[in-house]
């Protein structure tokens, strides 16, 4: 098993190295090599997964091995591989979707001038993602975390000739980095207080009371910052919709199934370190994200952007699941969502490939032209909308139940459930809006419509596979026995007193029942409303849009988040930097000029000294005036003496500061 795990990781790396250097010279530009490597990784992951599945116990560890990597002062850093049930699920998800995306890309990217480079990047990304999943410590997860960021940066900006693409990649990178800094700080706190990096070691030490109380809450929230960035949670969600500028298969891989899920995975992996307060924080962030993104998705016209906002929204769901204590539910949704969202993205890619446009106003009636795409897409939509018996229904239902149960236990937070329920309805609405605008009705752009055709085999095959999986992962039982909510207490080596199990099972059953029916109800009404508006056209969307102009504008402008960031963060940074650049120029000048008037008396005094002094006899009085006007005029930047003066001033300031 350990060999499997290592090979899973190394195969893509090997393929990447070969591909980046000599890929262009290989037959078919080397596309078979990364594809083959990742498929091999998938095949190698299967035994691990079945081992986990057949072992029938939660908390089962398939592989755990670590090696001393280096010494760090007087303690050693180990670097190892840790595969438990959660990892085995993630391995399957990542390798499977990555394989399908590779295959799909062979068709989609055909003829691109950097075809071989594309596969190299894709492979690099897969490697990073697999490393992130397999690694057994915080240090390693951070390294791979950044590597994933790098991979996505390269892929989003792949068509860098488009300015929007290169801007988007930069935005994604920087936004992610903001979150990463928090995560880095959190890891630093863990390392400096506990002195270890390994997950198990850290959990053990925390369970033994090495870190607790507010400090632990803060640490948890800081680490969660990383997930806020990577999983596009409020308020760092702004990068994901822009990231749709990348090639569509990339969107499917990165922005549906893997990278954005990394944040959720990380929270799941480190679940036990979150205190109740930290979990509440996670849940609230998740709720805001889920609701806000869902409402924005209603008004989008770009097919990929609808899916992007829906992804953000669903990620919010997962966070709510985790935050309200529905550990299994959150991670279950991660799995099901990975499949059906990848399906939706690849399906939209197929549509875009056919009509050469991302704007839904250019589509319509495509059902007959592209039957495979339509039917698979429909399955994905039903899953996402939460229609039974498709997979999304079960996982979303579980999250709603968990939120409701949380609300029942803490009535102040009932609004989380309500917001989630509303979002579920909205989700169904905008997804069917998408279906109606794209696949049914009349073609809006006849020329594009005539040109449209079903996609090649390499592209439809992944669609079918994913559609099967979207139906097939419906059985909730398997995941329930694989993933049980971990308890911190199990890691304790010393007794810390009885742990109170506050779970009130009386509510659990009731919550499930209520959630089940209410979620079906809202999904149904969402779909119905979409049909009324966009299929039968009983209600005019435009009329309502103009009636609710302010709301529409708010949504259309995505709650003005980009503008807000532009206005505050980015501009403030630039502004600050300009101030500092001007520091050399302005401060001393201002200092001088500002008090110039006040000091003209001093000036004349100085003039008097000059007159009676030695040089006063040489130079006339008239000169003194010139000296002063000159002096006031010419103090400018780049002058070495201004620098010296400021250095002296700083010494004085430091001296005075130290006095107090």
């Amino acid at each position: 098993m350990i060999t499997n795990a290592i090979l899973i990781l190394l195969l893509p790396l090997f393929a990447f190295v070969v591909q980046i250097f000599i890929g262009k010279r290989l037959p078919r530009q080397g596309d078979w090599l990364p594809t083959g490597a990742i498929i091999c990784s998938f095949l190698l992951a299967l035994p691990i997964f079945f081992d986990a599945l057949s072992n029938y116990e939660a908390g089962h560890v398939v592989v755990q091995q670590s090696w001393e990597w280096l010494r760090f002062g007087n303690l050693e850093i180990t670097f190892g591989i840790y595969v438990d049930n959660l990892t085995s699920i993630m391995l399957i998800v990542v390798t499977l979707i990555s394989s399908l995306v590779h295959i799909y890309s062979i068709g989609y990217m055909q003829g691109d001038e950097r075809y071989s480079r594309y596969f190299a990047y894709l492979c690099l990304f897969s490697f990073a993602m697999l490393g992130l999943v397999l690694v057994d410590n915080f240090f390693g997860i951070y390294c791979f975390w950044e590597l994933v960021g790098l991979g996505s940066y390269l892929l989003i900006g792949f068509w860098f000739e488009k300015k929007s693409a290169s801007d988007a990649s930069k935005k994604a990178f920087i936004t992610n980095r903001v979150g990463d800094v928090g995560m880095f700080a959190g890891i630093m706190i863990i390392f400096s207080t506990l002195g270890v990096f390994g997950f198990t070691d850290v959990f053990t030490k925390i369970a033994d009371g090495g870190l607790s109380g507010t400090m632990l809450t803060v640490t948890g929230i800081l680490i969660f910052f990383g997930a806020i960035g990577k999983s596009a949670q409020f308020p760092l969600h702004v990068w994901l919709p822009d990231a749709m500028e990348g090639p569509t298969p990339v969107s499917a891989l990165i922005h549906a199934a893997t990278m954005v899920a990394a944040g959720v995975y990380m929270v799941g992996r480190t679940f036990v370190i979150y205190t109740e307060d930290a979990l509440l924080f996670i849940a609230i962030i998740g709720t805001i994200t889920a609701f806000m993104a869902a409402t924005i998705a209603i008004v989008q016209k770009d097919i990929k952007r609808v899916l992007a906002y829906s992804t953000i929204s669903q990620l919010g769901y997962m966070m709510v699941g985790l935050g309200t204590g529905g550990y299994t539910a959150g991670l279950f949704h991660l799995t099901t969502h990975a499949f059906f969202k990848a399906l939706l993205f690849l399906g939209s890619g197929s549509v875009i490939h056919a009509v050469h446009s991302q704007d839904m106003d250019d589509m319509g009636g495509l059902r007959k032209k592209m039957p495979i795409t339509f039917w698979t897409f429909l399955i994905g939509t039903l899953a996402l909308s939460g229609v039974p018996p498709f997979s999304g229904f079960w996982s979303k239902d579980a999250i709603l139940a968990s939120a409701l149960e949380f609300g029942m236990n803490h009535s102040a937070y009932m609004w989380i459930f309500v917001a989630m329920l509303l979002s579920a309805g909205i989700t169904a609405f905008y997804m069917f809006r998408l279906i109606f605008m794209t696949f049914t009705g009349q073609a809006k752009d006849q020329k594009k419509f005539d040109h449209a055709h079903e996609s090649p085999f390499t592209m439809t095959l992944p669609l079918v596979v994913l559609a099967v999986l979207s139906v097939g992962t419906i059985w909730w039982g398997w995941i329930e026995h694989l993933l049980a909510k971990p308890e911190l207490a199990t890691y304790a080596t010393v007794a810390v007193g009885a742990v109170e199990h506050s779970a009130e099972h009386g509510n659990a059953h009731l919550a499930h029942t209520i959630a089940l029916f209410s979620s079906i109800a809202v999904a149904g009404s969402g779909i119905l409303l979409a049909a009324v508006v966009y299929h039968w056209k009983k209600i005019s969307a435009e009329a309502w849009g103009s009636k609710l102009k302010p709301v529409y504008n708010l949504l259309w402008n995505k709650y003005y988040f980009d503008e807000m960031y532009e206005a505050t963060v980015i501009r403030a940074t630039l502004w600050k930097s300009r101030i500092f650049a001007a520091f050399d120029v302005k401060i001393i000048d201002g200092f001088v000029n500002g008090i110039a008037t006040v000091t003209s008396k001093f000036a004349s005094l100085q003039g008097a000294i000059d007159r009676v002094g030695v040089d006063g006899m040489v130079n006339g009085v008239a000169r003194v005036v010139g000296v002063f006007s000159n002096r006031l005029r010419t103090i400018q930047t780049g002058k070495i003496q201004t620098y010296i003066l400021m250095a002296l001033f700083a010494v004085l300031i430091l001296f005075v500061l130290q006095q107090f």
Binding site: V585, I635, Q636, T637, G638, K639, I640, Q641
Partner: protein, 103 residues
């Protein structure tokens, strides 16, 4: 107070030091600025020699003063060569005119 002791030398040196600083910061002419630097170095040397006599009672302070004089000569030579070079470029040795590198 009038009888000369260590403090008198130190205050003498402090005044010389400040005059040197003032000259370095305010004079436009590069040569005058270098003169100001020499004042600063002289002020430090007075300190060294005074401390050598009153505190250390040894020659350490005098030795460093000697080395300071030597390095001052070397620095002055190179600095003046640079000043002459600037004069050939700008036809001026006013420091405030050498400000094309800025920001």
């Amino acid at each position: 107070m009038l009888a000369v002791g260590l403090n008198h030398y130190l205050i003498l040196s402090a005044i010389l030091f400040c005059l040197g600083l003032f000259s370095v910061v305010t004079k436009k002419n590069a040569v005058t600025v270098l003169m100001g630097v020499e004042l600063i170095l002289n002020a430090a040397n007075i300190n060294f020699i005074a401390f050598a006599k009153y505190v250390d009672n040894d020659l350490d302070g005098q030795m460093i003063a000697l080395f300071v004089i030597v390095t001052a000569a070397a620095a002055a030579a190179v600095a003046l060569a640079i000043v002459l070079n600037i004069y050939q470029r700008l036809k001026s040795i006013n420091l405030d005119e050498a400000d094309s590198l800025a920001g």
